[in-house]
């Protein structure tokens, strides 16, 4: 048994480590960039809603529409449709780098909705208090909306990250590298079940670590 395992890792160890690293790079980079863009969108959708800080029906409706459209396109279609865009932005539509573009674009509307949901939990009381003390709109956004919803934003980021791990496996099907790629190449095309099982175990471990880290962190900083 131990010998079989040793033989397995001797043959596939490097491949699996590289795959894990590629998956982590793709998802981490996409999550970060998606938040950089998704947070402002979520904030703008929130504050332009009727009765909010800066009501603006047109901006609110247009952004809402864009987010909805983005959310309704299946990822596999987005992946193919974005091949020229990836070439333009990342210089390649292939491999780990190429996959970051569709992953990010797929995640942005998702992140915007998550952020909007987190901000909605704040309720009017604290916002009004900040207004009453002369806080500007920007100060209310940073010091109240984002700060007070930080634990919820962190939980949302973990959900996004884990969702993107799933998407990255789909991207693997078009040569993005990573664990999904390995599972398909070895498990599906070459019938090497043990490689596929190993990738599944690794994916489960990664997801568990991220979920636990997010739970611990959000619990630690949540003072409610």
């Amino acid at each position: 048994m131990i010998e079989t395992l040793q033989a397995f890792f001797a043959e596939y160890g490097n491949l699996l480590v590289e795959g894990t690293v590629a998956t982590l790079i793709m998802t981490t980079a996409s999550t970060l960039i998606a938040y950089l863009i998704g947070i402002p969108i979520g904030v703008i959708v929130t504050i332009t809603a009727p009765g909010s800080l800066r009501p603006h029906p047109a901006v609110n409706a247009v952004l809402g529409w864009i987010v909805n459209i983005g959310r309704s396109i299946p990822f596999i279609i987005l992946l193919v449709a974005l091949i020229p865009v990836s070439r333009f932005i990342a210089g390649t539509s292939l491999g780990t780098t190429g996959a970051i573009v569709p992953l990010t674009i797929g995640a942005i509307p998702f992140v915007a909705r998550m952020v909007e949901g987190s901000l909605a939990e704040i309720g009017p009381g604290r916002i009004e208090a900040a207004q009453a003390f002369g806080a500007s709109t920007l100060q209310i956004i940073t010091k109240v909306l984002l700060w007070e919803s930080l634990p919820s934003l962190i939980r949302g980021a973990a959900i996004t990250y884990i969702t993107l791990i799933g998407y990255s496996a789909i991207a693997g099907a078009v040569g993005a590298g990573g664990l999904g790629d390995i599972a398909i190449r070895f498990g599906y095309y070459r019938y090497q079940d043990e490689v596929m099982i190993a990738t599944i175990v690794l994916l489960i471990i990664v997801v568990q670590i991220i979920q636990s880290a997010s739970d611990i962190l959000s619990k630690k900083i949540d003072k409610r």
Binding site: G125, R126, E128, A129, A130, Q131, A132, F133, G134, A135, S136, Q139, K143, V144, W147, E148, L150, P151, I221, D222, K223, R224
Partner: protein, 248 residues
């Protein structure tokens, strides 16, 4: 001094217009503890929110110390608001900030010196008797303690006006007493004008020197607390008086 002149407020909600305030005239003098009493939905919150322009009057003027502030915008508006303290029924403390950070918030918003603002916040916590809770979070405090923190926060910018919207409505009667006592103490020590919104005649009797009764968007009577209690003119005032506890 707060002067409210011919103020009306109409809410537009989906083709239905609702007149929340109708031709309000009030003068609140410096050092007053001015009660505004009425039943739920009478327009009390709307009225008090017009004073710091959280709500824009539809018509009419708001004057503070002789300045017409009704059309204040931008920096001028933020500056005006920061000179007026406010406390709320649900305390509205920042859940993810310590008690000390909560009290410092109005100073941080105005980019005041960090060290000095922490010192000021700590002094205010001493004033409200919660110096030992500085590092706690609001969720670790009782309702009465949270409202004390909110009062300390309202005092941070040394305002000459404090607005209280149902500040004791979520508290039990003993806690209410102690909060009212604190407000009275602040009024006497610092000469702060306090506007007290309430639905309770007990609160009015306990701390207000003047009172206005608001019913169905209109002021139906006003005067010194003594006058209004001794000779109520409006039917609603008599009804509100009947619901008040008998202390004498």
């Amino acid at each position: 001094m707060i002067e409210i002149r011919n103020l009306s407020k109409t809410y537009d909600a989906k083709h239905i217009q609702h007149e929340a305030l109708c031709d309000i005239n009030l003068t609140i003098d410096d050092g007053d503890i001015f009660g505004i009493i009425g039943v739920s939905g009478a327009g009390k919150s709307t009225l008090v929110r017009c004073i710091n322009l959280l709500e824009r009057p539809t018509t009419g003027r708001v004057l503070i110390d002789g300045d017409d502030v009704t059309d204040f915008k931008g920096r001028q508006l933020l500056e005006l608001r920061s000179r007026i303290g406010m406390i709320f029924q649900d305390f509205s403390l920042f859940a993810q900030r310590t008690v000390l950070e909560n009290v410092r918030f109005p100073l941080a918003v105005r980019h005041q010196d960090k060290q000095e603002s922490y010192k000021r916040a700590q002094e205010l916590l001493e004033l409200v008797g919660l110096a030992d809770k500085a590092r706690n979070y609001p969720s670790q405090l009782s309702g009465g303690q949270q409202q004390r923190v909110a009062i300390a926060r309202a005092l941070a910018n040394s305002p000459h006006i404090i607005l209280c919207d149902e500040a004791t409505s979520a508290l039990d009667s003993l806690t209410t007493e102690s909060i009212l006592e604190l407000l009275r103490d602040i009024n006497q020590r610092f000469g702060v004008t306090i506007v007290v919104i309430t639905h309770s005649m007990d609160v009015v009797r306990s701390i207000c020197n003047k009172v206005a009764v608001i019913d169905d968007s209109r002021i139906v009577e006003q005067g010194t607390t003594e006058e209004v209690f001794a000779r109520p003119k409006a039917a609603i005032t008599e009804r509100l008086l009947k619901t008040a506890g008998d202390h004498d």
